[in-house]
Amino acid sequence: MSIELATDDGQAVLPGDLSQSPLAIRGLTVSYGDKPAVFSVDATFQPGAMTAIVGPNGAGKSTILKSVLGIVRPLSGQILIHGKPAARQIHLVAYVPQRASVDWDFPARVIDVVLMGLSRELGLLRRVRRTHLDRAMACLARVGMERFADRQIGQLSGGQQQRVFLARALAQDAQIYLLDEPFAGVDAATEAAIIDVLKSLRDEGRTVIAVHHDLSTVSAYFDHVFLINTTRIAEGTVAQAFTSENLHAAYGGRLPAMPAAGQAG
């Protein structure tokens, strides 16, 4: 059981120090049916960093996020947010699901979707006030979508739908941002816009964790990486953990073409 973590910069959270990590996972096993999607996984995510969760299809990347958020129920394991059980700390977490997870013909305008990010404040009956609308609009402006506020969501392109989902998460004003393949099927300009927002979130001291499948951009976009293929393969800074050795361990023979690890970016 060797756990290699970032230690060179002196700020890294060590695996034993659970309360210092914004999100720590211990012994997580999730199974759909009789095959585990994730088996006995430990992870210690670093505060104020951008971490990519990387692994082949079906490796359990999304399942990790969904377990943290309480969308799927683990068979076993512990999930701690700032040292306390995740279920009680869920208000600290914002989520950007995969775009394909909703029906975009749903009767909602862009602004309605962003306002869903304020649901905790709006509660059951409170009226949507000017201040709520202003905040929602500010989030839309941050992703360059303020002119689309009154548009029906089905009339947006894929990249714009992804921006709306990000704006909804921004409205939550959370400490931890979990994103499920935020760059899947979006245009280059949107990818750049999203990465800008994520980096600004990190620079504000928030923790950003994204499931990511494009190996060629890992080094350019992220500080830390968590490699998984049902079990944990490696975690640490990109320089430490994103090695061709670890990638071979994660992907086996199915390693997609990519620049040699450590050289990109």
Binding site: I71, I90, D103, P107, D112, M116, G159, R163, A193
Partner: protein, 393 residues
């Protein structure tokens, strides 16, 4: 006997409230894409009706007392709902198959029960079959009161739960991630549907209550792209259908009430289908005519910008009428500016469509849409880089 008496007015109000609650509740079911569950719930009420009748008679009471029948129907509907949930979660059956199985088994059991009761010859069982298609004839004052109160309570519940229910309808994963208990919200939604069904048994009947839950939201969807408004409009359509059906039924007591209410709802649906702005049939015909004009205008402008001749008389007429070209085919100042704009837009689109990264946006190309209505400013800046130095002019 004609004209609405005090009782008939109360029945109408009750039917209106019931319709409103069905329209409101049904919208969430429709948006959750679980409309058929209501059919299972409705059919699963029948064994409960039969059983409640037997129990009440056995206890020496009136077998047709509405509160008792409602309690019995609620009980068996809840069992049916649980059975559908259990089957789709613990077997390989999909929910639609589970619904089909439960619906037919419960309904069959209910029909057997009713037939047995009819052959029992207790003398007073006549009337239970009105629960199939609904009836307002001979309704007691207290019955109408119960229905009105039940409908009103359901309306209040929808107002209280509208936000969590909409959140779950749109994106259950995100709803769970923001701390909502999706399972319980779903149960509350189904509970509301069950309450509406049970309350509506007497007036609409169990065979057609599903129509009152589904037709109003489908009709309402034609009128708005905003969920809150769809809910509200659906409630109004439901209320109108319920009240109209009850009034018609009061003047023609031989007709079952349920079908009249459903036909009233259908009339609203048909009207919405034809005349609704944007999504209606008429609007789409008008849209097509306008679309044709815009295509001609755009082609004309592009021809002007590139100095091509315009052959089509219709195109020329449109350009002249818009003050963009003179009778001899030469562009006016305004026409030249518009033409240059159209050309820039078209070149931007060409770049966008040749870039695989914009594939999803490229699908929106229709030769008309100004590119700034589909792209954000930073996306346009990126496109313009491909235009080269001349493009910016």
């Amino acid at each position: 006997m004609f004209g609405l008496g005090y009782n008939a007015i109360l029945v109408t109000v009750g039917a209106g409230l019931l319709g409103a609650s069905a329209g409101l509740t049904g919208t969430f079911l429709f948006l959750r894409k679980r409309a058929l569950v209501s059919d299972a719930i409705a059919h699963a009420t029948l064994p409960g009706v039969a059983l409640a009748f037997v129990v009440m008679v056995a206890l020496g009471g009136d077998g047709r007392a509405l509160p008792g029948l409602m309690a019995g129907s609620a009980l068996s509907a809840w069992l049916g709902l649980l059975a559908v949930g259990w089957l789709s979660r613990h077997t390989r059956l999909a929910e639609d198959a589970a619904i089909g199985a439960i619906l037919s088994v419960f309904f069959g059991a209910g029909i057997v029960g009713l037939t047995v009761i009819q052959s029992l010859n207790t003398g007073r069982q006549a009337g239970l079959e009105t629960f199939l298609l609904g009836s307002t004839a001979g309704m007691l004052f207290t019955d109408a009161m119960i229905i009105a109160i039940g409908g009103a309570l359901a309306v209040v519940a929808v107002i209280l739960l509208r936000r969590p229910m909409l959140a779950v309808c749109f994106d259950p994963g995100y709803a769970a991630a923001t701390g909502r208990d999706v399972h319980r919200i779903d149960l509350a939604m189904m509970g509301l549907v069950m309450a509406v069904t049970v309350v509506g048994l007497k007036i609409v009947g169990l065979v057609l209550i599903v129509a009152l839950l589904i037709i109003p939201p489908v009709a309402a969807r034609f009128w708005s792209d905003e969920a809150g408004r769809v809910v509200l409009i659906s409630g109004l359509i439901g209320a109108f259908s319920g009240a109209t059906g009850a009034i018609l039924s009061a003047s023609a007591p031989n007709l079952p009430t349920g079908p009249l209410i459903v036909l009233a709802a259908f009339a609203v649906f048909a009207a919405s289908f034809v005349i609704a702005p944007k999504r209606g049939l008429l609007a789409s015909v008008l849209w097509h005519l306008r679309y044709r004009r815009r295509v001609h205008l755009r082609q004309g402008l592009l021809a002007l910008a590139q100095g091509h001749p315009i052959y089509e008389a219709f195109t020329m007429r449109l350009l002249r009428r818009a003050g963009l070209a003179r009778a001899d085919g030469v562009a006016t100042d305004q026409g030249r500016a518009a033409a240059a704009n159209a050309l820039l837009d078209e070149r931007r689109w060409q770049i966008l469509r040749s870039d695989p990264k914009f594939e999803t946006t490229a699908a929106l190309y229709d030769g008309l849409r100004p590119i700034d209505t589909v792209l954000t400013p930073d996306q346009i800046t990126q496109i313009d880089r491909g235009l080269g130095p001349r493009g910016a002019a």
